[in-house]
Symmetry: C2
Subunit: 202 residues, 2 copies
DNA sequence: CTTGATAGGATACGACTGTATCCATTCAGG
DNA sequence: CCTGAATGGATACAGTCGTATCCTATCAAG
């Protein structure tokens, strides 16, 4: 056999090129040829490693989800040792918001995919996995916190979580469109968490 | 002069066809020829009444904003006579959520436009007018309510409004993607309004 | 009745799309 | 050394895109 190339690594390289285009120029600017140019390879190579444009697009969405997942875990463990319930929420919600250049780009791409998924069932299936997983995780977490007495007993954990996640998504949109700064969005999240858990503990 | 046609009415007809396509098949499915087919006219007619595809797209966004505006005012006056501050918020936020077939379609189109605006400054300029107007209106309203003693003095009106609007947007996304029902979203809004204004008055 | 602006059908243009094919190069296994 | 699978460059194909052009009706004004 010839050259022997790492297919996995090749595909990741192309997927990253795809996401770079999607996040800066939108998903409608993504074409096979554009990806090839962005990745510095020929059109044939893109075709060689992905059977379809559809496969390429799904790979992009999967990668985006993986990045988000990685970031959440990184933030969670960076807050060394055991987290307070509030700390866990601040970490997860803070990770959803665009907080640096890379996460801003990823959020843009995520938004593009989200919109595309509304009229493309194949993408919807891939794209809803992560949001649902997050909602479930946080609900379990908040229910436990309530039993431990960290939040008032009259709160409904599932509703609170749904509310906080929807808020984070809405804030992300407004940050991306320049309506609000990252700091302003973070303050709003903190403000909400204060009213759920009580003021942050030192 | 010949046939003498109502240009305004012609343009609205085409704009509505555009929005029908955008809301069911996405903005990327919108082409001059598709609009012509949807409106039941020839390609030439579409070109005749709009100089550009860009002009057509901007017209669609403007129409979408006008519809939303109409709906808010309709809801507000439907709640006959003077509204309680909470009633005004419930009306505006309830109008943002997709609550019937038409508003669901419009929300889909709105989402598509929002995403497109992230990589198209011309659309961004048109698209941010309404959200900003809403935020300002509600902030004025809530500040007055606070001075009247309707909400606790330690609340920050601007933050509360931003928070509620972001929440409504986030909930809209989750309703459109089928993660949540309209009823569930409405409950979440009510839940938040309860915690801001106190339980709904009979 | 003639004229000329208004309105629109038909068609063409060049650019770009995803996909397919043809062909050359590379190099591990026999 | 040689053979054949792995890799990828070059090019072609049939569509679709936005836009432009050509040409023909229509009908109010003179």
């Amino acid at each position: 056999m010839p050259k022997q190339v790492d297919h996995e690594e090749r595909r990741r390289h192309l997927t990253e090129a795809l996401l770079r285009i999607a996040s800066t120029r939108g998903l409608q600017a993504v074409s096979m040829r554009e990806i090839a140019a962005e990745a510095g390879v020929s059109l044939r190579v893109v075709q060689y490693y992905f059977t379809n444009k559809q496969a390429l697009l799904e790979s992009g969405l999967t990668e985006l989800g993986a990045r988000m997942d990685r970031r959440v875990k990184q933030r969670a463990t960076a807050a060394a040792g055991e987290l307070t319930p509030r700390g866990a929420f601040a970490a997860v919600l803070g990770t959803i918001l665009p907080f640096d250049e890379q996460s801003t780009l990823d959020s843009m791409a995520w938004t593009a995919y989200y919109t595309a998924a509304l009229t493309d069932p194949a993408l919807a299936a891939v794209g809803l996995t992560l949001p649902n997983a997050l909602e479930n995780y946080l609900t379990v977490r908040l229910t436990a916190a309530q039993q431990a007495g960290d939040i008032a007993p009259d709160r409904d954990p599932r509703t609170e979580v749904a509310s906080l996640l929807a808020l984070a998504n809405g804030l992300t949109s407004s940050v991306l469109s320049g309506q609000r700064s990252h700091e302003a969005a973070t303050e709003i999240i903190d403000y909400r968490l204060d009213r759920l858990f009580g003021p942050a503990t030192a």
